[in-house]
């Protein structure tokens, strides 16, 4: 059944997966080609530019996760989940199958990034003092993609009622945030929430840190 699920999802998402794989392959190559001059005096600047390019890796992971996470559930949402409910499989098993098939769709994107990173670093004559991280960067990208895909997948899998409750809770939180800001300008609830989510051991902490393909 997993094979059938993968085939169905591939049919629905192959253009998306191809586009994301091309972007993932091109990103490391573009990041190196844009700033590499092989001159020692420009290396610190090259590394600073590469650091900025590094922000695009979690960005690409977020775009890929959002696109694939929602595309995977698009047909089910259109049919109000009737197809899923008619199948003689438990709901949890159906969700797991969808998730596993989605993970398979992530693999080409991750492999494309790895190939791009290896190609980008193989093309340069590395001066002393610099190290390359094509494999570690790919692992980091894969983990970020997995994490973000899980989050988008969960949101897209939620029922309409659950999503409604989530939206109301979010609206309530923002209203409380505005009220707190007006009463005590130094307290920023949104910032506190974002900090908690993005710092260790928050769920998005793995997105932080260095995204350097080449570093000292």
């Amino acid at each position: 059944m997993l094979t059938a699920m993968i085939r169905i999802q591939w049919k629905g998402c192959r253009h998306l997966v191809t586009a994301l794989a091309v972007a993932a392959f091109g990103l490391p190559i573009a990041s190196v080609a844009a700033g590499w001059h092989a001159s020692a005096t420009s290396l610190p600047r090259f590394l600073s530019e590469l650091e900025l390019w590094g922000l695009l890796y979690p960005g690409l992971a977020a775009v890929a996760a959002l696109a694939l996470g929602t595309a995977i559930w698009a047909s089910d949402r259109r049919g109000h989940h009737v197809y899923a409910l008619l199948l003689p499989v438990a709901r949890w098993r159906y969700v797991l199958l969808r998730f596993a098939a989605g993970l398979v769709l992530l693999v080409p994107v991750i492999l494309a990034l790895w190939a791009g990173a290896v190609a980008a670093t193989a093309a340069i004559d590395l001066p002393p003092g610099l190290r390359i991280f094509p494999h570690a960067l790919t692992v980091k990208f894969g983990l970020a993609l997995l994490l973000l895909f899980s989050a988008c997948f969960a949101a897209a899998a939620a029922s309409g009622r659950t999503l409604g409750i989530a939206v109301r809770l979010l609206g309530l939180f923002l209203a409380v945030h505005v009220a707190v800001i007006l009463l005590r300008p130094g307290v920023n609830l949104v910032w506190m929430l974002v900090s908690a989510l993005a710092s260790w051991p928050g769920p998005f902490a793995p997105l932080g840190g260095r995204w350097m393909l080449i570093d000292v």
Binding site: R91, P127, G209, V216
Partner: protein
């Protein structure tokens, strides 16, 4: 500004006849002072500074600002005063003190800035003597975009005014003022990258730990290096100068510019209050300690990502109760 000029004119008019019999020299001084006051007044009018008022004073520093920038200017003066003491002690470009004017050239309510995009702020500084009506004028967009950056801009402008007064040995070694607008952590990281990636035999030996090569690559000792030896650029020199100043504490700038003749390496060592080799060793060690030790991915990060992914998947199982 206009009040001061008017007061000066009144004082001149009220001088008793006996005093007019004085020698020409005091009169010439008064005329020069009045002339400079008028020049400053004219300059002020041309720059539409009429709405600018004094906001705060810290010792010999004075800050004035346009409406809308006054609270930020007062806060910036505290931070600027602390940073100035950190790098330059009590030195000023002018012995009479230093005045800062922060003037907006646009309506600064957030609504107007949002609608028109006009958020220009002009920083103007002038020694309090009136001898040099405008030491500098800088148009900066940064302060409003990042209010905390205002003191950084002030510090950089202050350094640009002060730096030409430093000892000639220092200026011939490092012609421009050090990059003080850059946050410390960024400057140190940039310097670390320059140190580690420098090519050339001498620079590589310095990276490996040979202090004599560090001194040669920095241009402190020995013959002038060829390009192939990898002499360090002005950025690393500036970082070394700032390191020496910070190591030496509040009087470091004064020791660096001691009027007694001394060579470059001795001045820097005196500023840092330590032997030259110790200064070089500490500077190099400090930069190398900023090298990232760990790989981009750590085991803890892998486990955390997997754990959270599993938890979110479990959540997805619970959320998907379609009916």
């Amino acid at each position: 500004m206009s009040r001061r000029s008017a007061a000066t004119l009144l004082m001149l008019a009220a001088v008793p006849p006996a005093a007019r019999a004085q020698s020409a020299s005091p009169w010439a001084d008064s005329a020069r002072r009045l002339s400079s006051e008028l020049a400053a007044l004219k300059d002020s009018l041309l720059r539409r500074d009429s709405a600018v008022i004094e906001v705060a004073r810290r010792g010999d520093l004075v800050i004035s600002a346009s409406p809308g920038l006054q609270a930020e200017a007062a806060r910036a003066l505290d931070r600027f005063a602390a940073e100035r003491a950190r790098w330059f002690g009590s030195a000023t470009p002018s012995p009479e003190g230093f005045r800062i004017v922060i003037r907006s050239t646009a309506e600064l309510t957030w609504r107007a800035a949002f609608l028109t995009g006009a958020r220009e702020v002009v920083l103007s500084g002038l020694p309090d003597s009136g001898r040099a009506p405008r030491g500098f004028s800088n148009r900066s967009w940064e302060p409003l975009a990042h209010p905390a950056g205002l003191d950084r801009v002030l510090l950089e402008q202050f350094a640009e005014l002060l730096y030409p007064t430093t000892a000639s040995a220092i200026r011939s070694w490092l012609p421009g003022a050090p990059p003080l607008a850059m946050p410390d952590i960024e400057r140190r990281r940039e310097a670390m990258r320059a140190l580690v990636t420098a090519s050339g035999a001498v620079a590589r030996r310095c990276a490996a730990g040979e202090l004599g090569s560090c001194a040669a690559a920095l241009g402190l000792r020995g013959p002038r290096l060829h390009e192939g030896d990898g002499p360090y650029g002005t950025f690393l020199r500036a970082d070394f100068l700032l390191f020496a100043l910070e190591s030496g504490g509040p009087r470091a700038w004064a020791r660096l510019n001691d009027p007694a003749p001394a060579d470059l390496a001795d001045r820097l060592a005196a500023a840092a209050r330590m032997p030259g080799d110790s200064l070089l060793a500490q500077w190099r060690r400090g930069l190398l300690s900023l090298q990232p030790a760990e790989a981009p991915v750590r085991t803890g990060g892998v486990l955390l990502a997997l754990g959270w992914s599993a938890a979110i998947l479990l959540g997805a199982l619970g959320l998907s109760r379609w009916t």
